[in-house]
């Protein structure tokens, strides 16, 4: 159980508070942030805590008094699940999120989740080591990307959900798209992603994924980037050419961190609704056929 007060009481320097808050921001749910805020009177919180909470509230205005109903489950240090237990899976979509090098989706996790309706989504958040690669798997869970896909299927039963979407940002972005192809998801979304240099024959490498993507029916691949940021634009266009997916430039964004730019504008909720929505309803039988076509292995 999160005991913020005790952990904050042990902090003596700004850097120690920053360490605490950075680590929490990668994992806590909106409800946990609200609970931290409400556990003590405002004046009894350390100044550094108040600054942090105020910053989170600025990012996600409703987080303190109307937090999204996600309950966080710790599957492992590298796998978190955020689920609203009041809504059955059959009425929701499953988002499999491949976080980037910082263990984030470009912004603090509670701010991201606050912009995603917990009545519509269950989120599985995957993490890797900063210098690691999803193509070498996740420690303690899988040794390669197909293994991650198999783990997600065995552990979270995507077939229970109306839709399955993968999303990755930065260092997790291409892996999310590759996973979407391998698992026959409804949609795979890359934000600022680029295919890593992988040894020939590595599962999930671009030639393999591009070939399979063009044979798939029903998996949308979307490559999101800041419209004024040439490195990500060029990569997205190349991925579109290779896979037959679609690009999604975000207007007036001149940097890599698209999610933060959209958050700062107050547009994250409609942005996510647009890029994550699927325009097809997934059927269980069609999913199984896709798996056969993609040669997905357990």
């Amino acid at each position: 159980m999160l005991d913020y007060a005790a952990r904050a009481a042990r902090c003596r320097t700004q850097n120690q508070f920053n360490r605490l808050h950075i680590d929490l921001e990668t994992v806590v749910s909106p409800r946990e942030v609200a609970a931290i805020r409400n556990a003590k009177s405002w004046q009894d919180l350390p100044l550094q805590s108040r600054v942090w909470l105020r910053r989170l509230k600025t990012m996600a205005p409703g987080i303190m008094d109307r937090p999204q109903g996600y309950r966080r489950s710790v599957v492992s240090d590298l796998v978190m699940v955020y689920e609203n237990p009041a809504v059955p899976a059959s009425r929701k979509a499953l988002l499999v999120a491949f976080t980037g090098n910082s263990g984030r989706l470009m912004i603090p996790m509670p701010a991201f989740l606050q912009s995603l309706d917990s009545g519509l989504w269950t989120v599985v958040a995957l993490r890797k080591e900063a210098d690691g690669s999803y193509f070498r798997g996740i420690e303690g869970i899988a040794t390669d990307l197909p293994g991650i896909v198999g783990y997600v299927d065995a552990t979270f039963s995507p077939a229970r959900y109306q839709r399955v979407v993968t999303l990755g940002t930065s260092g997790g972005a291409y892996a999310a798209v590759a996973a979407a192809v391998l698992m026959g998801a409804d949609r795979g979304v890359s934000v600022g992603g680029a295919p890593p240099a992988l040894a020939a024959g590595t599962p999930g490498a671009l030639p393999e994924i591009a070939g399979k993507a063009r044979q798939l029916d029903g998996t949308d691949l979307v490559f999101v980037f800041g419209s004024d940021f040439d490195p990500d634009r060029q990569t997205a266009e190349a991925l579109r050419e290779a896979t037959g997916g679609q690009i999604h430039p975000v207007a007036d964004v001149a940097g890599h961190n698209v999610i933060n730019a959209v958050l700062q504008r107050g547009d994250l909720e409609p942005f996510l609704a647009e890029v994550l929505a699927s325009d097809r309803i997934r059927g269980t039988l069609r999913r199984r056929m896709r798996r056969l076509l993609t040669g997905w292995r357990r």
Binding site: Q16, N18, I22, N101, S102, E129, D131, S170, N257
Partner: protein, 86 residues
């Protein structure tokens, strides 16, 4: 510049980089311990600078903060800050 300060800086730079790649010229400059590298060329966001400062404090016990970084231009100034206190 002592070896200890070089090691602290290099370790902290890796912490701030957090797995992202530098342009080749920056990577080469850092590998060569060139301290005339402007801080804005490192490409660190606010999170990166927090990780950098946390690493410095963990290694040295010195409380360099992102607010301190805001007053500096290049790695040489961070190096000088450390040397003055170690």
């Amino acid at each position: 510049m002592t070896d200890k300060i070089r090691d602290i800086l290099n370790t902290a730079l890796q912490a701030g980089r957090n797995g992202t790649r530098w342009p080749a010229d920056i990577a080469e400059a850092i590998a060569d311990n060139d301290r005339d590298v402007a801080l804005d060329r490192l490409g660190f966001d606010s999170l990166g600078w927090m990780e950098f400062c946390i690493s410095v404090e963990l290694q040295s016990g010195l409380e360099l903060t992102p607010n301190d970084i805001d007053t500096m231009r290049d790695l040489a100034q961070i190096d000088a800050w450390l040397r003055a206190r170690l």
